[in-house]
């Protein structure tokens, strides 16, 4: 029996396990997943928890439920990967060897990277919504919020789901309007980027939304420390942004185990071939999801497309054939914009998001880079699609792993 180990049973690990279940010859291979955490969270749902749209329970299911039959989920963390010995060191010191390793350990927030973030005001006036605990605490804080300076802050790129802080800002505008507090609140979006988003056309479109919603933009702002005494963000070039309530996306890093194993980049993401998704660490080690260092968005949709590519490449690798597929960096993200509307963007390594129709050229029914009610409904339907289609490695009609150029209006 050969051994294939999947490290991490989150979004990406679960997807690739389900692909393998359908495609890998079971009698030759034993597949094991390792993850210390028994709960699978639908993380896009964390955006809605602070506003009371979802409860945290709405975002959670047991991991075991999505593990295909015949595969074992071992509830243990891994302390180190030893690629030159083809083995893992589990918590407690036990060793586990493998023939093929797929790393899907995701990314985590590290507020300790910023002086004054995880300090006196942490989860009193300073909140994250990238963790279940953070989202729940922020819900309580928003319930008690009476107006003042609400600051949404992005510490450093890359982060998973780079649109989430934008969506949070738009929803905060809607929520505070509904509560009659909007005219007592100044909303400021603080980012180290030069504009609202990373790509020019989208930045322009979203910049207009900021203006319309009266959200102030503080760009090129790299935080040096957070002053807990005076309740201010202070940048390296000595600008200051005061807050009564700070919602921050702390620095994102790859899993601790990548740091310990010593082969990650500066942020402990794993050097990975952008096309094949084979790691640059060892031939028999592949990487999927937020754990890679590929220059694509860190998003569930990306993990979904990567899984469709990776399954072909792994099967070829097992058969000693050349890699047949190359990932193109395809990402597809809804951007909730408040008042029951949303945007949708579709892009890859080479093509930034532009207006158009999705998934079918000319027909849609969804509009790209344009605000619509249907996009909001798409975003809300995404949770069902996530649990019932994406995790189970089912195809969504019309949605291909490779980004389609048809149906898009590129600037001349």
């Amino acid at each position: 029996m050969k051994k294939l180990v999947i490290l991490g049973a989150g979004t990406a690990g679960t997807m690739i396990a389900n692909h393998l279940h359908k495609r890998l010859k079971h009698k030759d291979w034993e597949v094991t997943l390792l993850d210390p955490n028994p709960d699978h969270y639908y993380q896009p749902g964390f955006l809605f928890v602070p506003f009371g749209i979802y409860s945290i329970e709405d975002t959670k299911k047991p991991k075991q439920k999505f593990i295909p039959s015949g595969m074992q989920l071992v509830q243990k963390g891994v302390e180190a990967i030893e690629p030159d010995k083809n083995q893992l060191i589990l918590e407690g010191g036990e060793k586990l060897s493998y023939d093929i390793l797929i790393v899907a350990t995701g990314s985590r927030i590290v507020p300790e990277e910023t002086e004054g973030m995880k300090d006196r005001l942490w989860r009193k006036k300073i909140f994250d919504f990238y963790t279940p605990e953070g989202a729940v605490e922020l819900y309580k804080a928003l319930q008690n919020f009476e107006g003042g300076d609400l600051v949404i802050h992005l510490t450093e790129m890359p982060i998973k789901c780079p649109v989430a802080p934008l969506e949070f800002s738009f929803l905060a505008d809607w929520y505070l309007t509904k509560k009659g507090l909007r005219n007592k609140t100044r909303i400021t979006y603080v980012t180290p980027l030069s504009g609202a988003f990373t790509k020019p056309v989208t930045t322009k479109v979203l910049g207009e939304v900021f203006a319309r919603k009266n959200i102030a933009l503080e760009a090129d702002f790299m935080v040096e420390h957070i002053d807990n005494e005076k309740q201010k963000l202070v940048s390296y070039d000595e600008r200051e942004v005061p807050f009564d309530l700070l919602v921050t996306i702390p620095t994102n890093m790859g899993a601790k185990v990548i740091e310990t194993s010593g082969f990650g980049d500066d942020l402990y993401f794993i050097p990975t071939d952008h096309g094949t998704l084979q790691s640059k660490v060892a031939e028999n080690m592949f990487v999927i999801g937020d754990a890679t260092n590929v220059p694509a968005s860190k998003a569930g949709s990306v993990a979904h497309f990567e899984a469709e590519i990776l399954i072909e490449n792994i099967l070829a690798y097992i058969d000693g054939k050349e890699f047949p597929e190359k990932f193109d960096g395809h990402a597809n993200c809804f951007i909730e914009s408040g008042f029951k509307k949303g945007f949708l963007i579709d892009f890859n390594y080479d093509h930034e998001p532009v207006p158009g129709k999705f998934p079918f050229a000319g027909i849609g029914p969804l509009s790209l880079l344009k605000e619509s009610r249907l996009n909001h409904l798409g975003k809300m339907a995404f949770r069902w699609i996530y649990w019932n289609m994406l995790l189970k490695a089912r195809k969504i009609p019309g949605v291909t792993a490779r980004m389609k150029l048809s149906g898009k209006k590129f600037p001349k």
Binding site: M157, L193, S194, E224, L267
Partner: protein, 104 residues
């Protein structure tokens, strides 16, 4: 893509003025881009520029702020003094390497 004449040399540049071919770069081009950005280059600027170029040659990507400060004696604070607003972007532009892709 467009072309620009920098330090009497015709070079290909992106819309935002980054050199398309890092090999086109010369010290005089660096001085001219810096001047356009309102920066007078000191020895310390040159330390950063040389680091950016060598690092690009080694890794094939442009260094982020975190990468520069982790692998040299330059601090983030100093980077912001030397190259105001967006140090990684600005230093990359002057060093003739592509715009950093830390931004996805």
């Amino acid at each position: 893509m467009a072309t620009a004449t920098l330090a009497n040399k015709e070079v290909e540049v992106t819309e935002e003025g980054f050199l398309v071919n890092p090999d086109d770069w010369t010290e005089d081009i660096a001085k001219e881009i810096a001047k356009q950005e309102g920066i007078e280059l000191t020895d310390r600027h040159w330390d950063v520029i040389r680091f950016m170029r060598e690092d690009y040659k080694k890794n094939g990507t442009s260094a982020t702020i975190r990468h520069i400060t982790k692998h040299s004696d330059i601090t983030t604070k100093e980077l912001y003094q030397l190259f105001p607003k967006g140090p990684a972007k600005l230093a990359a532009k002057i060093a003739g390497v592509p715009k950093p892709v830390g931004c996805i």
